[in-house]
């Protein structure tokens, strides 16, 4: 099997709109992994970064729960991990900043890895004594620093067009400096959207489109709705996550009303500075 010419890290932005439930997100990681592998990239790591409570999305429950559910969901993964840096910040953090933070972190890690980086996993304690295994099987410890890509669905890419949701320089940085791995649904036309946006078009070589041929639209919204109605969500989420939700009675009609009158953080921030 041919080896990759470069190492890639996939970074999944935990946009609260859709990514509160991990099941579907993890599948997206796998799809991109399959696709990138075919293009001779080696995906070495995936990071799930839940958004902070300061995002003020309606129905967003506390970060501590969302983090724990994400951890439970990724227990059996040897390459996807959960990171709490973003959710631990006092205020909402722009995606570009989060990507930057992780890119810098990878870079410094790579530079320090002279003895440790071998074939087997590297263990690192994170936060509440959760041991996360980071499998970085670099062949040559002094190889290029892994690239970092933002992993998202086509809707996030299209959200670049929503007024006051993104800063233009942030979009430029994410797409231009880092790169995006975007999963698109059968029937959608992401290339058209890229074509219609100057900044996306300019950096189209950094946008990796992954076609999802088989529709799989399990969304967090749907799961929350089912839970409110006392319906089963088994086999939509991993069992440990279902149990956690039951134990903590998360997701009720009440929780869905949280932030109902609040303004989404990015909209508030960018509107007031205009």
């Amino acid at each position: 099997m041919s080896m990759a010419t470069s190492n890639w890290q996939l970074f999944g932005y935990q946009h609260s709109l859709q990514y509160r439930f991990l099941f579907n997100r993890r599948k997206k990681f796998i799809q991109v992994w399959n696709n990138m592998r075919m293009r001779r990239y080696r995906v070495v790591k995936g990071i799930i970064s839940p958004v902070g409570d300061g995002y003020k999305k309606k129905g967003l429950i506390e970060a501590c729960h969302r983090l724990e559910m994400a951890r439970l969901a990724t227990l059996n993964s040897d390459w996807i991990t959960v990171d709490d840096w973003e959710s631990q910040q006092l205020e909402w953090v722009e995606t570009a900043k989060v990507v930057r933070h992780h890119a810098e972190h990878i870079s410094s890690e790579n530079n320090n890895d002279e003895v440790d980086t071998v074939r087997c996993g590297k263990r690192r304690k994170l936060g509440q004594n959760t041991i996360i295994c980071q499998s970085s099987s670099y062949i040559n410890p002094k190889e290029d620093t892994p690239h970092l890509n933002l992993l998202c669905g086509a809707d996030v890419l299209e959200s670049f067009g929503v007024p006051n949701l993104w800063k233009p320089e942030d979009i430029e940085e994410i797409v231009g400096r880092y790169g995006v791995a975007c999963i698109t649904r059968y029937g959608s036309d992401p290339e058209k959207f890229i074509n219609q946006s100057d900044v996306l078009y300019k950096h189209r070589k950094n946008i990796h489109m992954v076609r999802e041929w088989v529709t799989n639209e399990i969304s967090a919204t749907h799961v929350r709705r089912a839970l409110r109605r006392g319906q089963s969500v088994r086999y939509l989420l991993p069992d440990p996550v279902v149990r956690y939700i039951q134990e903590h009675s998360l997701y009720s009609a009440e929780s869905e009303q949280k932030n109902a009158d609040a303004v989404l953080a990015p909209l508030q921030r960018y509107t007031s500075t205009n």
């Binding site: 993890r26 599948k27 796998i30 088989v214 529709t215 969304s219 089963s232 088994r234 086999y235 939509l236």
Partner: protein, 249 residues
Amino acid sequence: MAGRIPLVLLACGSFNPITHQHMRLFELARDHMHQTGLYRVVGGIVSPVGDDYGKQGLVASKHRLAMARLALQSSDWVSVDDWESQQEDWTETVVTMRYHNDRIAAQYHSSKDPPTVSDVPQLKLLCGADFMDTFKVPDLWRDDHVEEVVGRFGLVCVSRGSLQPDRAIHESDLLSRHRQRIFLVREWVHNEISATEVRRALRRGQSVKYLLPDSVIDYIREHNLYTQDSEIKNKDVKLRPLTKQTIQD
């Protein structure tokens, strides 16, 4: 749930391999039947078809049974049954239904004293919307069998994607006549993951993690199931129902 009719849901199929979608059928069906206010679901049965069915790509029933058991290990109400797959020849759905119906009734009667007829669990066939369309395929079903499966027992049909079971019912006089015995469950989540897609991904060396339980994926890997070779199995074989002339009953 006092006063409700106890109900067992039976799913027949290839389960080649079993996926989370299959298990979702049971969850959706149970919720739906409970919400009618009439039923109390007391059990679920997965009954993999026998090897003589002759469907292309069908791997040995012993594997399909093993995978189903692994997948349902953690379920407290759905179990796997091998009676159908152990029969010498392919067995018609209605025959399998009769077997389970009689078995359930016998179990019930032996445990109750005196037995109350109304408390004997009923049996209904659980299926996906694509199943409804199979009634149209020439020679695949005997009319009297469809009559019994739908009219005597009943169907719980979970819709998927763009398939419209309403239309299949509308286009069939037989099904229309038994409309009240057919419970349509709407799966709102658009999810087209199927065993066929899973097999395709496996053939191409792609990951199927999160589509099936890890234990089933491990089993598939250990036994090297689902390859180019396994997919062409039965390629030139005619589906058994089309060749079998049943004179039983």
